[in-house]
């Protein structure tokens, strides 16, 4: 092979390397662009007044998003209370019974559930919860979001626990521990960092879900803590106010977008820290 040919090949290789750098960096660009854009639009709107007041009627300036903040937090807490215990237990079942027929079906259905569009889950929640109960309610929104959380919690729990060595389970069983104690005193505590990271990512995932809430929690211009009544939430507020023709409402929507974005960012970073800190060295 002559020198020219080698040079050409080296150049090609070098070019390819640069291309991977550029494309890798391209993955960071969308997040950075969104962050900067939302920060620019939203930062000036956010102040204490914005966080503790409810929106003003059209024509009055000022007002805040307290109703949406409180609503989002309540709806997420209730969804978590429903989804986390079920999800963790199902994950434990899957990791303990890898080959059973039920495990096969649970795995399949969580995988499919994960792919079901959120708007479909919203419609289903509407027919199952809102119609029978006779009206929009925050609780039905929580149920819809819980359905969305479930597959993430189940699969991350399963994946975490599957990686734990059998010797750990045997050590516990050989001490005469009954099954539930093996699970709750040994297996789950050792795998807690992975389980928690799944839980927090699922919370981050549902915080911004709008579609299921359109049909269920519906939205509410006033501060409400009644789970059986319509309730505002951040994504609903953004959807409704951003599509309105009023500038004051646009400001609220920008501010709320920033809050939502910061919350998801915070959850992701917090998850990384907790996962590292609580990781049990095997």
């Amino acid at each position: 092979m002559d020198a020219k040919n080698v040079k050409y090949r080296l150049g090609k290789s070098y070019g390819f390397q640069i291309l991977t750098y550029i494309l890798a960096f391209a993955c960071v660009v969308p997040l950075l662009a969104i962050l900067i854009f939302i920060l620019k639009q939203g930062l000036s709107k956010i102040n204490w007044h914005f966080l503790v007041n409810v929106p003003k009627p059209v024509g009055e300036s000022g007002g805040g998003i307290a109703n949406a903040l409180v609503g989002s937090i309540l709806i997420i807490i209730v969804a978590s209370i429903i989804a986390i215990p079920i999800g963790i237990m199902a994950g434990v079942y899957l990791s303990e019974n890898k080959k059973s027929r039920l495990a096969y079906w649970v795995r399949l259905s969580t995988d499919v559930l994960q792919g079901v569009p959120s708007i479909v889950i919203g419609i289903v929640a509407y027919f199952w919860m809102v119609k029978p109960l006779g009206g929009f309610s925050a609780f039905s929104g929580s149920v819809a979001l819980a359905i969305m959380m479930l597959p993430i919690v189940v699969r991350s729990t399963e994946e975490t626990l599957k990686l734990l060595p059998d010797s750990l389970r045997e050590a516990a069983l050989a001490l005469g521990m009954p099954f539930h104690r093996v699970i709750f005193k040994v297996i789950v505590p050792v795998g807690i960092s992975g389980i928690l990271s799944g839980v927090m990512l699922s919370v981050a995932r549902i915080t911004g879900e709008t579609a299921p809430l359109l049909f269920t929690a519906f939205g509410n211009p006033y501060l409400s803590t009644n789970l059986t009544k319509p309730m505002q939430s951040l994504p609903l507020l953004i959807f409704n106010y951003a599509t309105s023709p009023y500038n004051d409402w646009h400001d609220l929507a920008w501010g709320a977008s920033l809050i939502l974005l910061l919350w998801v960012l915070f959850l992701n970073i917090f998850t990384k820290i907790v996962t590292r800190k609580w990781k049990v060295q095997l």
């Binding site: 080959k99 060595p165 010797s167 750990l168 045997e170 050590a171 516990a172 069983l173 050989a174 001490l175 005469g176 521990m177 009954p178 104690r181 005193k185 040994v186 505590p189 050792v190 049990v280 060295q281 095997l282």
Partner: protein, 252 residues
């Protein structure tokens, strides 16, 4: 006459259709060290795991025949009680990685929800760690995680964890095969100390170890108990040809 603590009659164990332990009859005397040796895949570990009913935890595993602890049928007792009376130490040290050294020793009580006064817990921890010659090495770091110890220390910690439950029998599944020679000899010395209070059944790959530590030796081959005798007799004057061939290294 010495009293028998573990007694098997026509004992069989299988994984699915794979018959790994065939018709084993054995009487294990109290406060002795019994070595169980044989080539890989001869069923010795499976037999050991049948004694504290760990075998049945594997999907598809079955067993039949008689297995008695003090004339009580192990397979009619609740497995949890069996495992409280018959402790086990595994091939690889497996301390609970989320627990401190102290909590590892007391794990059998703590994780089973048995409440003990602090003084009693302290006594058990010190006593158990002393029994396994680990107390002096770890007494200043009892709150550190068990996984910070060396492999040999971890294995002694696991023995202490089993000893803390005051079982009658201790099962060892190739307890030193993952350890270095110095740790191995420390653990082997423990066997002599421990047999004063417990009956020890040790599965080992290593013939020299069997010869060094045991009072009686059982030789398994192809799932059968070929020979079971005083260790000295076994190694100097084996009755069965297969034993002779094994200890002279004609197969392994």
């Amino acid at each position: 006459m010495e009293s028998t603590i573990i007694k098997s009659r026509n004992f069989n164990a299988s994984f699915g259709s794979n018959h790994v332990v065939r018709n084993v009859n054995i009487d294990i005397p109290r406060n002795h060290v019994i070595a169980v040796m044989g080539p890989s895949g001869c069923g010795k570990t499976t037999y050991l795991r049948c004694i504290n009913r760990m075998h049945e935890l594997i999907p598809g595993a079955t067993c039949s025949g008689e297995m008695k602890l003090n004339d009580e049928n192990i397979y009619e007792m609740h497995p949890i009680f069996v495992r409280l009376k018959i402790g086990m130490v595994f091939q690889r040290p497996n301390p609970f990685p989320n627990l401190s050294i102290y909590d590892n020793v007391i794990a059998g009580y703590k994780l089973n929800g048995i409440k003990l006064p602090k003084a009693e817990r302290d006594r058990i921890v010190e006593h158990s760690l002393t029994r396994v010659a680990l107390w002096n090495e770890v007494k200043d770091s009892l709150n550190k995680k068990g996984s910070f110890l060396s492999g040999g220390q971890q294995q002694r910690l696991c023995i202490a964890r089993a000893v803390a439950m005051e079982p009658e029998v201790l099962l060892f599944d190739e307890p030193t095969s993952a350890l270095d020679p110095i740790s191995t000899s420390t653990v082997e010395e423990l066997f002599h100390e421990l047999k004063v209070n417990y009956t020890l059944i040790i599965v080992t790959h290593n013939m020299q170890q069997a010869a060094r530590v045991s009072d009686k030796t059982a030789f398994f081959f192809m799932g059968e108990l070929v020979e079971y005798d005083e260790t000295k007799t076994m190694f100097t004057n084996p009755k069965d040809n297969r034993t002779q061939n094994y200890i002279t290294g004609r197969f392994s």
